[in-house]
């Protein structure tokens, strides 16, 4: 085996091996250090010997022994640590536990990283670092901060887990629904940053979108039959399936109405459509992610922009507004209404939202207004709105799109 292949195995197994190790050794940092030790041993051994049947169990086993060594090596040998070593040794058989137990470990890790005692940014950072197995440098890049600053943030978070007593567990029945919503929000945050970056030279950051989809699939497997998870996964798959059509080779944005639909990933769309149906057929209250996915499904099914089922899309946004009212969804609703009742009616809706102050500082608001004004032929007003839209974004491809629109109106 070459080091590249071994790296891939580490990448696939790191999160799950870590999840079990944290339970066994009871400490994030010790588990992470011990797993690094085990990787080093594996890198040496697997290049010359054959891969073990179950690489994850092998890694967990070696890491557990490394954790015991690490505790023993600590200079002050106190009674408490003696007890810990004893417990670890008692757990020696623990690696042959049933798969359900190991799945629970992964969920424990996910719910701990997405604990509401952390700010959303910290939840995302912990998730990317420990569950997705990204390096600290990669996580730092995702947040556009220095590696040092991110390392510090992660150290503080892990310290808080230990000192504040954040439990390593899957929440019990009563607490589960709101906590799962929190987990899904983290996954969706990772995805949206990948789908439309906040700033920088590239519209999309495919690595983050792919990580979010991987997390969604993992959750769907660990907690089957949940409409919220299926809906979110479907939403991400359907949006992401359009990635090849959303930008040209120069990195410029290609709008939905201009996209070459043959570039869309049909297999992924089929996958997404199946999941939307599953999500909508699950008993219980309709889930916001599932309704959003149903909207994405209508776009994915439409043979062209003109033949899109706009009335149904506008109707689904109204459903969404009842489940989960928010000014951003109102704005999306207005955009859909512009395709059914025309831009004048939509502009009234947008101005009403603006008057309530609900979208102060929302960077896409001037862009939506600009588009409606342009379609109404109010060139001067549209131009002013595009200037405001350009000021509101940090993303280069969006700025180029607005510049193009202004040129087209000349």
């Amino acid at each position: 085996m070459n080091p590249g292949e071994i790296d891939n195995i580490f990448r696939d197994e790191a999160g799950r091996a870590l999840a079990t190790l944290i339970r066994l050794v009871g400490d994030f940092d010790l588990a992470e250090d011990a797993l690094q030790d085990a990787f080093a041993v594996a890198l040496e051994r697997w290049t010359v010997c054959e891969l073990p049947d179950n690489p994850r169990a092998w890694l967990v086993n070696v890491a557990r022994h490394k954790a015991i060594d690490r505790i023993r090596r600590q200079t002050v040998f106190r009674g408490k640590e003696q007890q810990l070593v004893h417990e670890l040794e008692l757990n020696a058989q623990a690696v042959d536990e049933p798969p359900a137990m190991l799945d629970d470990d992964m969920l424990r890790l996910i719910f701990t990283c997405c604990h509401p005692a952390f700010s959303p940014e910290v939840q995302v950072a912990l998730t990317l670092r420990t569950i997705c197995g990204l390096s600290t440098a990669q996580v730092a890049r995702a947040f556009l901060v220095s590696e040092e600053a991110m390392a510090q943030r992660l150290v503080r978070a892990k310290q808080k887990i230990r000192l504040a007593g954040i439990p390593y567990e899957v929440p019990e029945r009563d607490a589960l629904a709101p906590r799962l919503d929190g987990v899904l929000a983290v996954v969706y945050l990772v995805f949206t940053e990948g789908y439309v970056a906040t700033s920088g030279a590239d519209l999309m950051r495919l690595d983050l979108a792919a990580e979010a989809i991987r997390l969604g699939r993992l959750l769907d497997r660990l907690m089957p039959g949940r409409a919220g998870i299926k809906g979110l996964l479907a939403l991400m798959l359907l949006h992401d399936a359009r990635r090849a059509g959303r930008a040209n080779s120069a990195g410029d944005i290609v709008l939905l109405e201009e996209q070459d639909r043959t570039l869309w990933d049909r297999a992924q769309i089929e996958d997404g459509l199946r999941l939307v149906d599953d999500a909508l057929r699950t008993p219980g209250r309709p889930q916001a992610y599932a309704v959003q996915a149903a909207i994405a499904a209508l776009h994915a099914r439409a043979p062209s922009f003109e033949e899109t089922d706009w009335p149904q899309i506008a109707g689904l946004y109204e459903v969404l507004l009842r489940i989960n009212p928010s000014p951003v969804i109102e704005l999306n609703h207005a955009a859909a209404v512009s395709m059914v009742d025309g831009p004048a009616r939509a502009l009234d809706l947008v101005d009403a939202i603006t008057a309530r102050g609900g979208l102060n500082g929302y960077e896409l608001l001037p862009a939506v207004r600009a588009d409606l004004l342009r379609r109404l032929g109010r060139t001067q007003d549209a131009r002013e709105a595009y200037v405001a839209a350009t000021k509101a974004t940090q993303l280069e491809p969006l700025r180029r799109l607005y510049a193009r629109r202004m040129r087209e109106m000349d």
Binding site: A117, Q159, L163, P167
Partner: protein, 117 residues
């Protein structure tokens, strides 16, 4: 009468102290604590973990909202405290959310510093 004595200091600066300075401070605290225990003034007292371990709990419309970090609002003032035993942070947050003032103000949940024996 009973009084709550609240200790405010710059925790970042304090953490920069060398071992000898910290040791000296600790000894002074031990002496002070023993002194007020012997004089009969002592009711309860603890050192707190740093604010980076804090979680602030509010209840609005029946929903428990948590935020990372300490309470940082100058419009509201410390009005009381509970020292509770709870099995983990989730249990502590659950108790904090039942404090009536959680509905109008904020409850900061901060772990007590436990010294190794």
């Amino acid at each position: 009468m009973q009084y709550l004595l609240m200790i405010y200091q710059n925790e970042v600066e304090y953490a920069k102290n060398d071992a000898a300075t910290s040791q000296k401070m600790l000894a002074e605290y031990q002496a002070f604590t023993q002194g007020i225990v012997q004089s009969g003034n002592f009711k309860a007292g603890d050192r707190l973990q740093p604010t980076t371990t804090a979680t602030t709990v509010r209840v609005r419309d029946g929903k428990t909202l948590t935020t990372d970090g300490p309470f940082a609002e100058t419009r509201e003032q410390l009005g009381g405290y509970y020292l509770v035993e709870a099995k983990d942070l989730n249990a502590a947050i659950e108790i904090a959310a039942r404090i009536p003032s959680a509905r109008i103000g904020s409850i900061e949940v901060r772990p007590i510093w436990v010294y190794d024996k």
